[in-house]
Symmetry: C2
Subunit: 213 residues, 2 copies
DNA sequence: ACATTATTCGACCGATCGGTCGGTCGATGA
DNA sequence: TCATCGACCGACCGATCGGTCGAATAATGT
């Protein structure tokens, strides 16, 4: 507690956090720079000192989220285990991460389905793309191994990845609609646990009961 | 073929079609009124002759999509059959509709996960909400019946609905990302058929193979 | 002590935003 | 023939957009 406290969060990170919250909720176009600056507690011009353009700020925000997702997935998959175990952990880690940081889920979904929100020649955008590729590659490897080992039913891998994204990411990005449908916050800890159980039951048993067995 | 040809599409519908295409691709905030007007081939002021505000135009666009979804689902479910059959048709109709009109999928996903894009007191918005409720209610009924009849595994119904939305709507809304992941257009007819097969296999068998059976 | 660097800011810019207004035009009906 | 009406448009409005610039201030290294 001397004169200046440099142990605090850097202004750059404070901007990134505020930007993530706003971009996640309303998207790139609907959020103004001045609004982000106000939320951080600085002037618009100060914000432009840390990020050259709005597009660069957005790309950096997305990159930051994807970096965290990639890091956690890489870490958990490095522990090895059977393909079924690794798939379990891939799902578990992704759910925990999005349940912990709701804005991540929405920004992740946006980065998947929004088209060219930004110019796509920014270095931050390219780095984010590479991280997304790695995240998908993780799923790809686990599914390939599991099917080769006979632990997983043989299915089309890209479609299976889309299914996993839809089941996990969409759910935690569904906001008010999800809350209304479920009946309480989709981020309530009991509801997150229930989501895990439901997903695992789906993966293990499907939904339709086979007749004539 | 007399003097005037009134059998053409009304200007209102031409606007709605152009607006859907643009709103679906880039969202409410990123699309300007003048851009829509230009796409229709009329001036901005003419557009405001047919719709009072941008928000009203957006609400009407969403309402139009939900009306079509609701209509087709109501129609196919009215044909009756076992719960498993009706679930099959619910899925099939939804997939066919979105494969036929890609913009529908993206606008539907936006209407689910985008928060208060518009003021929410517009009558068009409330009508759209009611249609969405009916669509969900259809799924609710089918799932409840199926579980009661022992045709479907007993699961949490709201979570199961989220899963179905994620599997179907997200996939067809995933745009460029989906195309890249799958390797060709997700709307290619072969790929749509494959999606149906994959979803049905998932519903019937899950993904993980149970050991020790 | 000084120079350097990082951080912040107010004032300002051209462009575009959603929306309004007054009025033109052609078709319709009496 | 004349009044009405829906469709359409150009000109314009205040507000906000993303972004620039020059200067003031605070922190740091020497």
């Amino acid at each position: 507690m001397t004169t200046t406290n440099t142990a605090e969060i850097s202004p750059r990170d404070r901007i990134l956090e505020a930007a993530e919250e706003l971009f996640a909720r309303r998207g790139f176009a609907a959020v103004g720079i001045s609004e982000i600056a106000e939320s951080v507690g600085m002037s618009k011009s100060s914000l432009f000192h840390h990020f050259r353009t709005k597009a660069q700020l957005y790309a950096a925000t997305v990159d930051r989220v994807l970096a965290e997702v990639d890091l956690e997935l890489t870490r958990t998959l490095a522990r090895g285990g059977s393909a079924a175990d690794r798939l379990d952990r891939w799902i578990e880690v992704l759910i925990d991460l999005m349940a912990r940081t709701p804005a991540h889920a929405r920004l992740l979904l946006r980065s998947l389905f929004e088209e060219d929100e930004i110019s796509n020649v920014l270095p931050e955008q390219q780095e984010a793309d590479e991280k997304l590729q790695r995240i998908i590659q993780h799923a790809n490897n686990v599914l390939r191994d599991g099917m080769a080992q006979g632990e997983l039913r043989v299915a089309n891998i890209p479609h299976t990845i889309q299914t996993l994204i839809g089941i996990i990411v969409y759910h935690f990005a569904s906001g008010e609609f999800g809350d209304e449908l479920i009946g309480r916050s989709i981020f309530h800890s009991d509801e997150v646990k229930r989501r895990k159980r439901e997903i695992k039951a789906f993966l293990h048993h499907g939904l339709v009961i086979e007749r004539g067995l």
